[in-house]
Subunit: 206 residues, 2 copies
DNA sequence: AGACAACCGGACGGGGTGTTCCGTTACGGT
DNA sequence: ACCGTAACGGAACACCCCGTCCGGTTGTCT
């Protein structure tokens, strides 16, 4: 997964490459995908040209930076699929996916778009297929409403992306409550369950 | 509301002003608030300077352009407040607010931000106060869950804003289903109700 | 009809972004 | 220690955005 040693890189080049990726991951996660390339280069103490030599385009950088997050997504769904109770598995998947997306603003954006041309398409489709399986089981087990479709989870993830807040902490808190609400709405024979604490959203500027 | 004749404008100036506003409303609604000023000027067949003479800043244009939408928001809540059944009123408010926000991308953004410095603050607060009243009644009447807070509606509106789609039609359709789901999750003693048709979201680029 | 004020639009300067050119540096094998 | 070459980074390119200034044009009032 994280190997791809490919062509032998010079030591300084390899260092730079990894430093750029680390900086980019942090920046994209906390500030979103709109962080300028130059800024990432600056923080990695590297010239813009160096960055472009390693990643021929911004999409390439995004793809590389989010590869592990994409992997995490698959892992989350796989884990949910492995749960004894399909409904609890589904529920867990929704909660953890939303938390992941709330923690990494950039990844959320990329996941619900098709920014890196088709780099993620395969992974995403694989994940969605697993999810389809899980949904089927959760319906058969009863608690998931029959008219639920996988697209509803995409919808929920997109919606989750709309939640903005000054700090990551409040964003995650808000996202948690939102996830709980969505799960409520996905139940076939719902029973009102307690929610995570409400969050006051102070109308950020962006 | 829509009067404010203020200083007598020359006939051509008044024409331009209204044309700019019409174009701006359309552009902001369909493409969001990030439409460049110059582009709006171009579509209104007017120079940039003319636009700036009428609206000294982009925020001023936004404020003026969305004034009527803001009014509509108040009207929607007022109407919900006037309904015989508070829960039906609340439900209607949620549905209509979300539809309004889905129809007007720019307004949704402005409503959940504080872009025009404090132009909308008063209206928004007034609307929120009415909403608070409605929420109280809907709780007292029973169907609205006790741990619901007004911030949950803000949350839902923000989330609604995250729903992107190529065409306004699919966006509205998706938003409608989303609203139905959210309403489900707001019920104190929920009973699974049928949902609007599911929507396939073809992963737009933006 | 004429004259003045108000209005118009093209052009300007300042700032920001993704991407590329090219002269310089320094790694690493001999 | 040496030197070929991979890798570097600052500057520059092309594009887009905002907000302003200025000389020409047009409406309106006498």
């Amino acid at each position: 997964m994280t190997a791809e040693v490919g062509p032998k890189l010079r030591s300084d080049a390899r260092d730079n490459r990894e430093r750029i990726l680390a900086v980019a991951r942090l920046a994209f996660a906390t500030e979103g995908v709109d962080v300028p390339i130059r800024e990432i280069a600056r923080r990695a103490e590297v010239g813009p040209a160096t960055l472009y030599r390693h990643f021929p385009t911004k999409d390439a950088l995004l793809a590389e930076a989010f590869a592990e997050q994409m992997e995490t997504c698959s892992a989350i769904v796989a884990e949910g699929l492995a749960a004894a109770d399909p409904w609890q598995g589904f529920r867990l998947v929704v909660e953890r996916l939303m938390e992941l997306h709330a923690l990494d603003r950039g990844f959320a954006r990329v996941f619900t778009s098709r920014l890196p041309e088709a780099v993620f398409a395969a992974d995403r489709d694989r994940t969605l297929r697993m999810l389809l399986d899980l949904v089927g089981r959760a319906k058969k087990a009863g608690p998931l409403r029959r008219d639920f479709v996988v697209e509803d989870l995409s919808l929920a993830l997109m919606a989750n992306e709309g939640i903005r807040a000054e700090s990551p902490a409040t964003r995650v808190a808000a996202s948690r409550r939102f996830a709980a609400l969505m799960i409520q709405s996905f139940m076939a024979e719902p029973v009102a369950a307690p929610l995570p604490p409400p969050v006051r959203l102070p109308l950020s500027r962006a």
